[in-house]
Symmetry: C2
Subunit: 155 residues, 2 copies
């Protein structure tokens, strides 16, 4: 488990910033690290509450902001307007199934290069980008191969 590394990273971040090590922060970090994919503030608080009732949204959100600042988490904003947090790791983009919610990460050097050319063409300096592909995953195509209308989010 490389979770220990992250635990330590948080500890030193807290120390460096004169922040306190609390029961709540530890609980939230543990749940967050145990999640492999992406998790919303809402679901995070539900899971944290299983073992630590009483921890409210406020603390969840404040702590996640802390983890993001510490470089341990990255916030992601997909098409549904809910912030999801993922463990910070190498740059990548996402492929999302609009039926089951599955999220797959991908990375493509060719696209990155194409982006650089586009940015250069318009004289921009690129800071970040977001690239999301929305569709139906293989499983969902199998289960209901004939899609009628996906209510999710137009376009």
């Amino acid at each position: 488990m490389s979770h220990e590394i992250e635990q330590k990273a948080l500890a030193s971040y807290l120390e460096d910033h004169n922040l306190k090590h609390t029961r709540q922060r530890e609980a939230i970090l543990n749940v967050f690290l145990s999640v492999k994919g992406h998790i919303t503030g809402d679901e995070l608080q539900r899971r944290v509450r299983e073992r630590h009732p009483g921890i409210g949204y406020t603390t969840i959100y404040r702590t996640m902001k802390l983890l993001c600042d510490a470089g341990l988490a990255t916030p992601r904003h997909f098409d549904d307007g809910v912030t999801r947090y993922e463990i910070e790791h190498e740059h990548h983009d996402h492929l999302l199934c609009v039926r089951c919610g599955r999220i797959v990460e991908f990375e493509c050097q060719m696209i990155e290069q194409a982006q650089d050319r586009i940015v250069a063409r318009y004289g921009f300096r690129l800071l970040r980008h977001r690239h999301e592909l929305y569709g139906h995953c293989a499983d969902c195509q199998r289960h209901t191969p004939d899609a009628s209308a996906d209510a999710s989010d137009g376009s």
Copy 2:
């Protein structure tokens, strides 16, 4: 002005769907069509009110949904959580300046092809995508070449 075309498209859409042609809808469509780029519901209502006081957010939002359904407008969700509407036209993606808010449209066949390959690799069926590049435009680099920290909130 090809606006006439759009006026007619709306008229026949309304007719086909048993919807009524009202003063408000006309006013909103006119302002919307007069905007070249992307506009938020908020700004749209401010502009509509200049000539038609009394029109509220409710009608703006309801009408924009109508225009989207009619295929005349497309809703866009960028990084700041505010819906922007643009006149529906050929597929394209966006390059956004996080300092001044400028929005440039781009289109890249090579990226589209790369996307298709990625989607195929994971067995997905692609429905739509969003690809946004955030950075500083040439003008903003010139005015304040040394960027310190740009809050993610680039309205």
